[in-house]
Each structure stands twice: as structure tokens, then as C-alpha cells.
């Protein structure tokens, strides 16, 4: 097996990764883009080249903007390998650590390895966990997952459907569903009263941002067609084998409505599994209640040779992601010796301006749509870790046994040890421990995430190319 080589490896073909690879290749950098999906677009522009939903009005112009990233990428000369899942990155144990990183990945269940001098992670965001009673029942999915079914397969639910939570995506999905002819029985808003007052100080920028016009149009359309309930508390999904109804408190009353589909969403957070596994430092973002990698203006992490662009470096949205991708690519080209610092800084100018425009107004709805405490820090029998079925009460009680951090919790309760590798429970577990201990989340920390960052079969691992070094390594161990 020959080992692929490149100067810049970009991981992820969403807006940040596509723009970064295009920019880097345009500067003469030998660039390879690996992406887990079969076609480019990431989550936000998922299936942009392949979607069966060809009526552009259904998914909207913001979605179709994604197509403008794909053509330049294809023309850029960057290499592209779709369907490639990265599961390990090494440097110190690489064949020749001075030659850069070794990246192990799989395509169609076949393990491969490549060498890259510089890495750019463009691995994006994931939906924030939304642990309510019954969220593990069949019939309860995230709004993002529902949107993927619509984009990639043109699927919408045909039975009674309820959307619940907060955040722009919730309204966007409702709007797209309506465009696609689906009926929505209710939209349950969990935003607590008083949030608008907190958000108002940020309103000035919001009023000057492109979000305003689009957002108002979209919300008007949804409000005209869907019953909306505000200030929803104690949301829960009921059912024996699958979802049968949704209950909630609002306006001083408890209500239950029959439903076959419940779509949950309370914002997105950086997907940190890869950035943590490579050893990058992360900080707790108090405003957004999530971890994000520590990066500079160029997306450079605390690990030499590894940058992050897009929402994976902190949530700023799809438009910002492409500009951040271009900035990170310029920096990579400078580090790799393709351009000098002056050229990097000069070329960055327009991208920095575009980035500033793209993030204007975000503070307003970040504040408005901050996920309520009660939906981030569950109590009682509510499942926290779906894979291992660990409840909020178990986590809270285990703190009292001396498990003062997520890693001790992992060792004790196995939460975070299942197939999702902590993606669905990590934030919740950190927040619950912090609440029980009465300390900031930053002090509690997060799961140590290690490779493989995606599950793989032992057979795949066994097929990894063997080298002289690895043979010697084994001999050394046996003495």
C-alpha cells in the first residue's frame, strides 16, 4: 500500500473546508480534502450537488449558496476524497515525526494512511444535547437530523409532528417543512420570558445585519402556518415503545398533545472530538455554554501545524465559516512557505471584512436563544448518556462518591464510553458535575477524547499498513 502525501490536509467539506481547500490550492499548496460524506457541502449544505429537492424555493436561497463553493473547489486543483472517515492523527509515533502528521482514515471499511505537513480541521458543529424525559424514544429526533433527511432524500414526516426548543435552525426547519408541504402540529418555544430584554443591548448590530430581514420573513411565514407556544417548560416525550405524545407546561397549565414525531433543537456547539484528540487546548465559552478550541485570528490551535476553521473553532455560522476557511488557508500557505507574511496579511483583508459582516448581529440571537438551564442540566431519571443509559440522578449521585470530573465519571458509570463517544452526553455531564460541585464548568473539564475518534472494526485496524518501524516497535517491546 502506498501512503498518500500532501502538504495541507483539510478535514471536512462544509463551507470552511471547501473554501479553505480552494484558497490553498489556488496558492499552489498541494492540498487534499477528506470528507466523511459521499458529496460535498457539510451539514449546512448537505447534498448540495445531489439533493432530490430541486425546487429551490423549498430549501431556500441560503442553502443554494452552498453550490457557489463547490464549483471553484472542483476547479481549484485540490484533491478530494469523499466517504473518508478520519479516525487517528499521530505525530510523535509517525514513521518520521519531522515529516509531519500521519493520518489514519477509512474508506468503505478499508483503512488507509496519509502524511500531511499541515492539518486544517473543518469538522463543524453538532447539535447541543437536549436531554428531556423520553428523548430516547423512537420518533424523537433532532431537528438537524430531520433536515438532513429532507436535504439528502427529500423526506418529510407525514404524521403528527411537533417541533420544540429554541434557535434559528428550529424556525428554518419549520419553514423548509412548510415549503415541502409537510404539516407541523405545533412549535414549542422553550425560550424563557425575559430573554428579549437580555438580548436587546445587542440589537443594534442585529438590526444592521442580513439576519434581520431573512429572519423576519421566515418567522412570519412559520407563524402564519404553525401554532406556536411560547415559554414552554417541563417538556417531555411520552410513549411506551415509541413516541405517543408530548407534554409541557406553559401559561400556568400542563398540556399533552398526541404526536408521532418530535423534532428537538436547542442550538449547535463545536464538534470537539477531533480537536481534543489531537491535544489542542479548549476553553469554556460562558456565553454559548460550550467548549471551543483555543485559536488565534488565523484559526491556529495550540498544537503547532494544526488549524481549525468554521464552526468547529467556535459557532459563527455558515457564511463566517467560509471566510474563516480562507483565512486559515492563507495562514497554512504561509506556514508551508508558499506565500510570505506580507502576502498573507494583504490577501486576508477582504476576508476579514467579510467575516466581520457575517458575524454582525450574532450576539443578539446567541443571547436570545441561549439554551435554558433546565434543558441543559436535567434531573431525576432523565437519560443523560444514551449509549449506556446513565441518568442525571446517577451522575449527580456519583459526584458525591468522589468522582469530581467527567473522566472519573466515565470510568465509574461508563457514560461517554458508548458508540457516540461522548457526543450526546459530554456537555451535559460536565455541566451536571459543575452544578453538583458548585464550581464553574471550566474547572470541571471535559472527557479526555482519544483516538479512534470514530469507531472502526478490529479488522480495519488490523489492515493498517505495517512498516519496519512498527515491526521493530514490537520487537522492542518483547525485548
Amino acid at each position: 500500500m502506498t501512503t498518500t502525501q500532501c502538504d495541507l490536509l483539510v478535514i471536512g467539506a462544509g463551507p470552511a473546508g471547501l473554501a479553505a481547500a480552494t484558497t490553498a490550492a489556488g496558492l499552489g499548496v498541494d492540498t487534499l480534502l477528506l470528507d466523511e460524506q459521499p458529496a460535498p457541502g457539510g451539514q449546512i449544505y448537505r447534498a448540495i450537488t445531489t439533493t432530490p429537492v430541486t425546487d429551490r424555493r423549498i430549501l431556500g436561497e441560503d442553502y443554494w449558496h452552498g453550490a457557489s463553493l463547490v464549483e471553484p473547489f472542483r476547479a481549484s486543483g485540490a484533491r478530494y476524497e469523499p466517504g473518508a472517515t478520519v479516525w487517528a492523527v499521530s505525530r510523535m509515533t509517525a514513521e518520521s515525526p519531522d515529516a509531519g502528521f500521519e493520518v489514519a482514515y477509512s474508506v468503505d471499511g478499508q483503512a488507509r494512511m496519509l502524511r500531511a505537513r499541515h492539518l486544517l480541521l473543518a469538522t463543524g458543529a453538532q447539535e447541543r444535547p437536549f436531554p428531556i424525559p423520553g428523548w430516547t424514544l423512537p420518533g424523537v429526533i433532532t431537528a438537524g437530523a430531520a433536515q438532513i433527511l429532507l436535504k439528502s432524500a427529500g423526506l418529510v414526516p407525514s404524521d403528527r409532528t411537533v417541533l420544540a426548543g429554541c434557535g434559528p435552525l428550529l424556525y428554518l426547519v419549520a419553514w423548509q417543512y412548510l415549503n415541502a408541504g409537510a404539516k407541523i402540529d405545533a412549535l414549542l418555544e422553550t425560550t424563557p420570558p425575559g430573554r428579549m430584554a437580555q438580548a436587546l443591548p445587542h440589537a443594534f448590530d442585529f438590526l444592521r445585519s442580513p439576519y434581520l430581514g431573512k429572519g423576519l420573513k421566515l418567522m412570519r411565514a412559520v407563524k402564519a402556518a404553525v401554532p406556536i407556544v411560547k415559554g414552554v417548560r417541563n417538556l417531555r416525550a411520552n410513549g411506551a415503545q415509541r413516541l405517543e405524545s408530548v407534554s409541557y407546561d406553559a401559561g400556568g397549565k400542563t398540556r399533552t398533545m398526541a404526536a408521532e414525531q418530535l423534532l428537538l433543537h436547542q442550538g449547535v456547539v463545536p464538534n470537539v472530538n477531533l480537536s481534543r484528540a489531537v491535544g489542542a487546548e479548549h476553553d469554556w465559552n460562558e456565553a454559548l455554554d460550550c467548549w471551543q478550541p483555543r485559536v488565534d485570528d488565523w484559526g491556529a490551535t495550540t498544537v503547532a501545524g494544526i488549524g481549525i476553521a468554521g464552526d468547529g473553532a467556535g459557532i459563527a455560522g455558515a457564511l463566517a465559516a467560509e471566510h474563516r476557511g480562507r483565512l486559515a488557508a492563507l495562514h497554512a500557505a504561509r506556514v508551508l512557505g508558499r506565500i510570505d507574511t506580507a502576502r498573507r496579511d494583504r490577501d486576508a483583508g477582504p476576508h476579514r471584512q467579510a467575516l466581520a459582516r457575517a458575524v454582525r448581529g450574532r450576539a443578539f440571537f446567541d443571547t436570545l436563544y441561549k439554551a435554558p438551564d433546565a434543558y441543559r442540566r436535567p434531573v431525576g431519571d432523565t437519560i443523560v448518556c444514551r449509549c449506556e443509559e446513565v441518568t442525571a440522578q446517577q451522575v449527580r449521585e456519583t459526584v458525591a462518591l468522589g468522582c469530581s470530573g467527567p473522566n472519573q465519571m466515565k470510568a465509574f458509570l461508563r457514560c461517554g464510553m458508548g458508540p457516540c463517544q461522548g457526543r450526546f452526553c459530554g456537555l451535559t455531564v460536565s455541566e451536571l458535575i459543575a452544578e453538583e460541585r458548585g464550581v464553574p464548568v471550566s474547572e470541571v473539564g471535559y472527557y479526555r477524547l482519544r483516538f479512534p475518534t470514530k469507531p472502526l472494526t478490529l479488522g480495519e485496524l488490523a489492515a493498517l499498513p505495517q512498516t519496519d518501524e512498527s515491526r521493530q516497535a514490537v520487537v522492542r517491546l518483547k525485548k
Binding site: 469507531p455 485496524l461 488490523a462 512498527s470
Partner: protein, 395 residues
């Protein structure tokens, strides 16, 4: 954390299993220990090792300790009020080929000559009946039917909790900077101030050589980080722990169905940054071995890898015993990837040394003196009359 009293009867540096076990045995003897841990209790090897309660094919010097420790494991719940996830299904080291078989039969002969009966031969037929999924070409193996396995973090935490309930104190997130003896008192300078005690114990694992150096007895300690992989849950197919002979493997299915794969292949380690990097080429070798020994494992889904940092000594046996250069100072470190099983007994040995001045078990082979520069006429450390099992397995 409130600092509490600035003095104790014993200060233990290092909150791993051995430090926690020493604190527990001391507390049972009425001696109040203060454990100072730079991170949190069970952070490194103690919390994330393979959990083997293994007497099988130990270095002969370790056998008396391992057998005595196993007796404590059998009643672990009465010692620490927790079953520690203890499961007793035996451990077997399998012969994949003729050379393996010869090596294992040699080992058996050595043990029989020494009068030990806890290791016996298991014929291929019985082995295949015991482990139906194992490759049929297996030639039998060496088995310790009374061996077992436990949950490492749960165990370390149980020792800590029981010790604390009996009066031991644990300080976490506190780093020992300097130790010196002044007027019969140990003065321990830490990141959280100065603490004193008449007796000091070095259970500092991969960092223990630094303390030893402060006591003028440097040791050639190597920080190592044995790698582990775990699969998603699988249907039950295996009871005993399976070990390799000619190539490293430790293979076990836990009660929850997950399969743990270890064996001592090592990660790259930076002990100052407390960071390891898994070596996937080496792990791939381990995966190949597993797939050859258990063909059905090729489809098993590997979900996590990790590596705990610990200390290995050149002769792969620990340092246990009094300092030879300082009064009222003791060592227990360097367990070389097989210290977990010894945890319960090493705590008792340290307690005996501290409270009675002697150990009821033979610990001479573990003296730190074996690393001292040889005096004229004395045997060099490498020539100590010990049998080092070259196939020593990892916990």
C-alpha cells in the same frame, strides 16, 4: 479545598492504587496518613489499566506477594466495602506454536521446582472447550484458574473512600515540590504550602524517580504508557483472561460485554505534559494478533483507545521497601505494567514496614539498593539471582 492540619503521621506522595492502599492499611492500624496527589486519585495507570488480578507467570520474586494479594482480592468487599467489579474466571497464557509451548512448559517446570501449584497446564482440547471461539490450532497453555479481573478505577476509588472513612486524608490537585528531613520530621513543600510528618512514602509512579533522586538514590525509571483498546458490547463469548506468549496480548471480555485489548504495546509518552500519543501502527499489530487468535473479532467495533502513564524498571519488577539513604522513608513504585494485582498487598507491606519495621513477606528482591552503584566485590545489579520471565505479561 481547606488545607486541614499541616501535619500527619505519614505523608504518601501519589494517589494511585498503591498510595491509596497504603493509606487504607495505615488507617486500619490507627495511623493517620495524608495522601498528596498532583492530579486526582486514579488519574493515570491505577485508573485505566487492564484490571488483571493475575498471579500467572509473574516474576518469581513477585509470586509470594501476588499470591498473598490474591487472598486479599478474594475478600475485597470486606476490605473496602465495594466489590470493585471483581470477576473470577481465571487467566490463561496460550501457546500459539511450538516455541510458545516450549517456553510455557519451561516456565511450568520452574514453578513446580519451586513448589508452586497455582499455575498448571491446560491441554488444547480443554482450552478449546473453555474458549470455543479461539483459533483451533491453539496448542494449550498455562493457566491460573483462580486468577481474576477487576475494575481499576472503581477499585482505586474504593480504596480511597474506605481509607478516607477511617481517617486518611487525600489532597488532590496538589503537587509535591521538595522533600527534606529536618530534626526527625519530613518537611514536604507542595504547591499548596508545607506539610510535615515523621514518615514519608514514595508512591509517585511514573514520577517516583524524582523523589528518589532527592533522597540521593537515583533509579533508572522509564515512564511508559501501555495502550488499551475497548470494543462495543458483544455477545458473551469469553470468561477467562487470555494472554499471549510469543507476542504481547491481554484479552478479556468484561461482564458488560465489552472486550478489552491490551498487552503492553506502548504509547509515546510525555510525563511532564501528562500526555500520551497512541501508536496506531503498534495497535494494528495487536489487532492482527487478536484477529488471528479470535477470527470472529475482525468484525468487532473498536470504540476507544487509551494509555495510562506508569513506571517501568529495567528488570521489570518494582521497588518496594525502605529508602537506604533516608530515615523513615519508603518506596513503592516501578510496577512495570503489572502492579494492579499487587495493590492490596503492597499497602499492607508498607503499613507493616512503617508500624513494625519489617515485612511479613520477602521483599528483599525489590530493594532500591539493586540500582545503587556496585561496591567492590558485590554482584552488579543485573546479575541478581532472579528469574525474569521474558514473556512477563502486562496487567
Amino acid at each position: 479545598m481547606s488545607p486541614g492540619p499541616r501535619s500527619a503521621e505519614v505523608i504518601i506522595v501519589g494517589g494511585g492504587l498503591h498510595g491509596s492502599s497504603a493509606a487504607l492499611h495505615l488507617a486500619r492500624a490507627g495511623v493517620q496518613a495524608l495522601v498528596i496527589e498532583k492530579n486526582y486519585v486514579g488519574r493515570h495507570a491505577s485508573g485505566v489499566n487492564a484490571g488483571g488480578v493475575r498471579t500467572l507467570s509473574r516474576h518469581v520474586a513477585e509470586v509470594p506477594l501476588a499470591l498473598a494479594s490474591r487472598e486479599l482480592w478474594y475478600r475485597i468487599a470486606s476490605l473496602v466495602d465495594d466489590d470493585c467489579g471483581f470477576e473470577q474466571h481465571g487467566q490463561v497464557r496460550v501457546a500459539e506454536n511450538e516455541a510458545d509451548e516450549a517456553a510455557l512448559r519451561d516456565r511450568l517446570a520452574t514453578m513446580q521446582a519451586l513448589g508452586y501449584t497455582h499455575e498448571t497446564w491446560i491441554e488444547a482440547d480443554e482450552l478449546r472447550a473453555m474458549i470455543p471461539r479461539i483459533v483451533p490450532t491453539v496448542r494449550g497453555g498455562l493457566i491460573a484458574r483462580e486468577d481474576a479481573a477487576a475494575d481499576p478505577y472503581r477499585t482505586t476509588l474504593a480504596f480511597r473512600r474506605k481509607a478516607a472513612s477511617l481517617g486518611a486524608r487525600f489532597m488532590e490537585g496538589v503537587r509535591v515540590q521538595e522533600t527534606r528531613c529536618e530534626g526527625g520530621q519530613w518537611v514536604v513543600q507542595t504547591s499548596a504550602g508545607t506539610y510535615t510528618a515523621p514518615t514519608l512514602v514514595n508512591c509517585a509512579g511514573a514520577w517516583a524517580d524524582r523523589l528518589a533522586a532527592q533522597w540521593d538514590e537515583p533509579v533508572p525509571l522509564l515512564p511508559i504508557s501501555p495502550m488499551m483498546l475497548v470494543t462495543l458490547r458483544m455477545d458473551h463469548f469469553l470468561d477467562p483472561v487470555v494472554l499471549g506468549t510469543g507476542r504481547p496480548l491481554s484479552f478479556k471480555q468484561r461482564a458488560n460485554g465489552t472486550v478489552l485489548i491490551g498487552g503492553g504495546r506502548r504509547a509515546w509518552v510525555d510525563r511532564d505534559a501528562e500526555w500520551t500519543e497512541l501508536d496506531f501502527r503498534a495497535l494494528a499489530d495487536g489487532a492482527r494478533m487478536v484477529c488471528e487468535l479470535f477470527p470472529h473479532m475482525a468484525g468487532a467495533v473498536v470504540n476507544r483507545g487509551w494509555a495510562g502513564i506508569e513506571a517501568a524498571m529495567p528488570d521489570e519488577i518494582p521497588v518496594i521497601g525502605p529508602s537506604l539513604r533516608r530515615e523513615r522513608a519508603f518506596h513503592a513504585f516501578g510496577f512495570s505494567a503489572h502492579g494492579f494485582e499487587l495493590g492490596p498487598i503492597v499497602g499492607r507491606i508498607l503499613c507493616e514496614l512503617i508500624t513494625e519495621g519489617r515485612s511479613s513477606l520477602p521483599i528483599e528482591p525489590f530493594s532500591i539498593g539493586r540500582f545503587a552503584p556496585p561496591a567492590a566485590g558485590a554482584p552488579a545489579p543485573g546479575q541478581l539471582p532472579l528469574f525474569d520471565d521474558p514473556r512477563s505479561s502486562k496487567t
